[in-house]
């Protein structure tokens, strides 16, 4: 077997999302984007900078501050076979459009007995750690993971963001695509050319033997740091990122836990009723006999995200919380 060297370059997570959008728009005139401040301003996070110049104002559309109409217009265009990508500036504001997401986008295919497809991608971002207060910092992925008919993607690296965004846009279902605000500046190598990443495939970021950390978003990076630290203490941590939360790659997660026999689930969203609860339920249901310790959960404490930095830091999870959870699970015999 010969290995083919893939030439790589380093780009930020922000640039990766932008490249995913641009490549998809170059490939198909039916792909267009709309959202608040995305044209001249390039989006509140600068993700769509430069796209107006390349694709023009028909395909890079500023919208009024109208989340219901942004999502619902995307639904309608998708029902006509286009592949719109709508941006909801902060995932907190997704709540304004929940009816169009949950009752329309997710259900038209089903209620029509398979007549409709809704190939809509909804990009949104959020996350705490910069003191925006309680209405700009939530992690609401569990809300949409509970809805049959939606797909949910949450990349943690530039490569995953670019490849998964492409696949989300070309998926024939409504995909909610979460980006984390604090990941936009991180840099990592990506393949020179965009490589689509299939939805529903987890990524094993680091192979380990003693404990599995299943993490999403910012917590993937926390888990990788913890794994490095733990290695220095003789503990081998495996880090798995589902990347697609719905549909979930159960096989990769279960195989990892069956190997390590211990598991920590970690995300920034509040622990209670979070995505990690579903992971824990899945693992106990399908890998109970392999577990040597209760599954540990890491996430935010059960409060809105507070403003004052000291309180915010207290509420949201950090590397130390992941490390503590790893140690708790290892302490069980």
């Amino acid at each position: 077997m010969t290995e083919v060297a893939i030439s790589t370059r380093e780009i930020t997570y922000r640039e990766a999302v932008r490249e995913g959008l641009a490549e998809a728009m170059r490939a198909d005139p039916d792909v267009f984007i709309m959202g608040e401040d995305i044209a001249e301003m390039g989006g509140s996070m600068g993700v769509t900078q430069g796209l107006l110049a390349e694709f023009g104002s028909e395909r890079v559309r500023n919208t009024p501050i109208s989340e219901m109409a942004i999502v619902g217009t995307g639904v309608g265009a998708a029902m006509q076979g286009m592949r719109p990508v709508v941006e909801i500036m902060y995932q907190d504001f997704m709540t304004l459009a929940m009816e169009q997401i949950v009752l329309q986008a997710a259900k038209h295919r089903y209620m029509s007995g398979g007549q409709h497809s809704v190939p809509l991608t909804l990009r949104t971002q959020g996350g705490a750690g910069w003191s925006p207060g309680a209405q700009h910092a939530e992690q609401l992925e569990a809300w949409v993971c509970h809805v049959p008919g939606l797909k949910v993607v949450y990349p943690a690296t530039p490569e995953d963001a670019r490849g998964l965004l492409w696949s989300s846009i070309y998926d024939n279902n409504c995909v909610i695509f979460f980006e984390h605000r604090n990941l936009y500046p991180i840099k990592a190598p990506v393949a020179e050319q965009l490589m689509p990443i299939e939805l529903g495939r987890a990524r094993v970021h680091r192979v380990g033997a003693d404990v599995t950390v299943v993490a999403t978003g910012r917590l993937v990076h926390a888990a990788l740091t913890v794994a490095e630290q733990a290695a220095g203490e003789g503990v081998s941590v495996e880090v798995v990122d589902p990347r697609t939360l719905l549909p979930l790659d159960e096989g990769t997660i279960l195989a990892s836990v069956m190997k390590t026999n211990r598991c920590v689930v970690a995300h920034e969203a509040v622990v209670q009723m979070g995505f990690g609860a579903e992971l824990a339920a899945l693992i106990q249901e399908k890998a109970f006999d392999y577990l040597d310790a209760p599954i540990e959960r890491v996430g935010s404490k059960f409060a809105p995200v507070p403003f004052a930095p000291v309180m915010e830091e207290y509420v949201i999870p950090h590397e130390a919380d992941v490390m503590a959870a790893v140690k708790r699970t290892l302490a069980r015999s």
Partner: protein, 303 residues
């Protein structure tokens, strides 16, 4: 119109007899709006409908058989048994779907119209909704965006004076609903929705305006729901003499009968034909195929 009327009367009858599941909203009295508008549309124009959807579906070309089979929850139904009365779809015929969420279908009409605009297709998307929907956010966001982008959409407000049970004066701060469109700089046309010919003319003008790229139109059709909000509604909210009186003065079918000037024999021949089609649809539906329970897990996702 007569087909819609007789179809809905039959549906009421079968529902009361316990043949149909769920719950039903009939549009008896509002037939002229559905027919007047849908007859003004081309086959590849699209509509989005409401919870009071049977008339819209029939007027846009769904067959009585497919519609009745849907109400019976059969595989042969226009939504394959997945939808029911409030979720009637017929994508091939241009029915994007009936929506059980008041105002829920308006944004997707804007989106469909945007797709037509972007693809340079001379097609129009029309949304049906009631006066009650003009109070919900999707209505305002949709009209605003549609006018801003001048998409080829027609917003058909079936103003029947009641939001479910609540009369206009309890739910609308203005009497003239056409003012809603003024707020968005949108052209509005007001028409007597009990007069099918007038409604048709108004709809033709609205559709022409939209199709020619002059922007969306708010078509306000003043109409009467000559029945309750749902089948079995005791209508305690209506003055007792209101309905019997309206049934005499505001029945769009009686009005059409007069304006057509048909001889009794001609009318009876029409009646016979319609009744036969409706009866046949019941037979078709009763003989239809029940979905397998496990089919409930199909169509959650597209491939």
């Amino acid at each position: 119109m007569l087909l819609i009327r007789r179809f809905e009367e039959k549906v009421e009858e079968r529902f009361r007899a316990g043949d149909l599941a769920g719950f039903l909203h009939v549009a008896i009295g509002q037939e002229a709006v559905a027919v007047g508008v849908c007859q003004a549309l081309e086959p590849d124009d699209v509509i989005a409908s409401t919870h009071r959807a049977h008339g819209h579906a029939l007027a846009k070309g769904t067959t009585p058989n497919a519609l009745m089979a849907e109400l019976y929850g059969k595989v042969e139904g226009c939504s394959g048994g997945y939808g029911g009365s409030m979720h009637l779809y017929d994508v091939e015929k241009g029915n994007l779907g009936a929506n059980a969420v008041v105002g829920g279908g308006l944004p997707s009409v804007v989106g469909s119209a945007l797709a037509f605009q972007l693809r340079r297709q001379p097609r129009v998307a029309a949304a049906f909704f009631g006066d009650g929907a003009t109070n919900i956010g999707t209505f305002h966001e949709s009209l605003n965006l549609a006018q801003l982008w001048r998409v080829p959409a027609v917003f058909v407000c079936e103003n029947n004076g009641y939001a479910e049970s609540t009369p206009s004066h309890q739910q609308l701060p203005i009497k003239d609903l056409a003012k809603r469109a003024v707020a968005y700089g949108m052209r509005s046309i007001v028409v007597d929705g009990q007069d099918v010919e007038a409604t048709h003319r108004a709809a033709l003008e609205a559709v022409r305006h939209a199709r020619e790229g002059q922007g969306p139109v708010f078509l306000l059709a003043n109409t009467y729901r000559l029945t309750g909000h749902y089948v079995g509604d005791p209508q305690v909210y209506r003055p007792k003499d209101e309905l019997p009186q309206l049934r005499v003065t505001e029945d769009p079918i009686e009005k059409l009968k007069v304006s057509l000037g048909l001889a009794n024999s001609e009318w009876q021949a029409l009646e016979a034909k319609v009744v036969q089609a409706v009866d046949a649809s019941v037979e078709f539906a009763e003989a239809g195929t029940d979905p397998r329970p496990e089919d409930a897990l199909k169509h959650v996702y597209a491939d």
